[in-house]
């Protein structure tokens, strides 16, 4: 168990990139990208985890109670906002692809160029 969450994060990261590499559809591409990003949440949160630690919120519990690391939680919050914004932008581009380029396959968007 002691390293499993980190291995899981690495696994999600690689699987997400695999999804991006073999993607044939813009929506699939965006979801793969978001999936890849979720590996970073897993990594950050499991780094800051403390065994038997509570949330770093000291209401109704005395100060100095064992708690998980608050900083990685703040970082993850930023990370999530980033993920949402990139997904929104790429989905907007996907809509334009559907409307104008008439294809949702990134491979077909443009043939080989130099």
């Amino acid at each position: 168990m002691s390293y499993l969450p980190f291995v899981l994060a690495a696994w999600i990261f690689l699987v997400g990139i695999f999804g991006i590499v073999r993607s044939r559809h813009f929506i699939h591409l965006v979801v793969s990208l978001s999936l890849t990003q979720s590996s970073t949440y897993v990594l950050l949160l499991s780094i800051g985890y403390v065994k038997h630690g509570g949330a770093p919120i000291f209401k109704d519990v005395p100060l100095g109670t064992k708690a998980v690391d608050p900083v990685v939680q703040a970082l993850t919050l930023t990370d999530i906002v980033v993920s949402v914004t990139v997904a929104a932008l790429l989905l907007a581009v996907a809509i334009e692809a559907k409307k104008h380029a008439k294809t949702m396959n990134p491979d077909e968007l443009r043939p080989v160029r130099g």
Binding site: Q73, T85, L91
Partner: protein, 248 residues
């Protein structure tokens, strides 16, 4: 590259990357056995110095409040970017999506839910630095309340509730407000984003110094940002679902 060549390249590269990641993981502290100094120091300092019971909120809005300003601007910029990408050519009127709900019972139930969602959102924003929650989380819920008006009610009333200039005013005020609070501290001779207000008593709504102000600024910004995003994507919906509506 052919798809096969691409997958072969990726396969080899992924093996290498996987090996690297596993190698580094062996150097991490064991899961649950983290002793980093930063979080520990803040866990001790924040409730005493800032009178915030939620240390994550203290990190987000005070110790690392400057990150959050950037984070708010990321959302702001993305909304502006989406608006630019999905802009309608000038001469065309944005098409109006149809209302999916026809049942009066569902409509009444849904719209009354919007009110409850609104209250919940406000509550989450307001208590963000006392209990879990905050401007970002609450802002999304607030925006969802507006979305409910469309989902359960009608597109027209949704648009009447959210006139674009007013939402943009909220968006700009939320993002700019954060910066202005930072600059106010600068004006009175403190550091940018330094605390301006008395700290109050931990666990009360009037605690945390400037944190409530920053919290509300981001709540406003997030709400407006998501409402604008919904606007943009909803007006595309009609075009995508029924392409005959668009003169080409």
């Amino acid at each position: 590259m052919s798809r096969r060549a691409r997958l072969a390249l990726f396969g080899i590269a992924a093996c290498g990357l996987a090996a690297l990641l596993l190698w580094s993981i062996t150097g991490l502290p064991k899961f649950g056995d983290y002793h980093g100094a930063y979080g520990k120091i803040l866990d001790k300092a924040a409730p005493r110095e800032r009178q915030t019971s939620n240390v994550v909120a203290a990190v987000v809005f005070d110790y690392r409040g400057f990150d959050t300003m950037g984070e708010e601007l990321i959302l702001f910029a993305a909304v502006m970017g989406v608006a630019m990408l999905l802009r309608e050519p000038r001469e065309e009127e944005a098409p109006v999506p149809e209302d999916p709900v026809r049942s009066d019972a569902l409509r009444a139930f849904g719209v009354s839910f919007a009110g409850a969602t609104l209250v919940l959102g406000l509550w989450i924003v307001a208590h963000g630095y006392v209990t879990p929650g905050g401007g970002f989380q609450g802002g999304v819920i607030l925006a969802a309340a507006f979305l409910l008006v469309w989902l359960a009610g009608s597109y027209r009333s949704y648009r009447r509730l959210t006139p674009v200039p007013i939402v943009e005013l909220g968006e700009g005020t939320g993002a700019g407000g954060y910066v202005v609070i930072g600059l106010c501290a600068l004006l009175i001779g403190d550091a940018f984003l330094q605390n301006l207000l008395p700290y109050g008593v931990a666990g009360k709504l009037s605690s945390g110094g400037s944190i409530p102000l920053l919290n509300w600024a981001s709540g406003l910004e997030v709400t407006a940002a998501f409402v604008l995003l919904f606007n943009e994507f909803l007006s595309e919906r009609a075009v995508l679902i029924d392409p005959t509506r668009r003169p080409s």
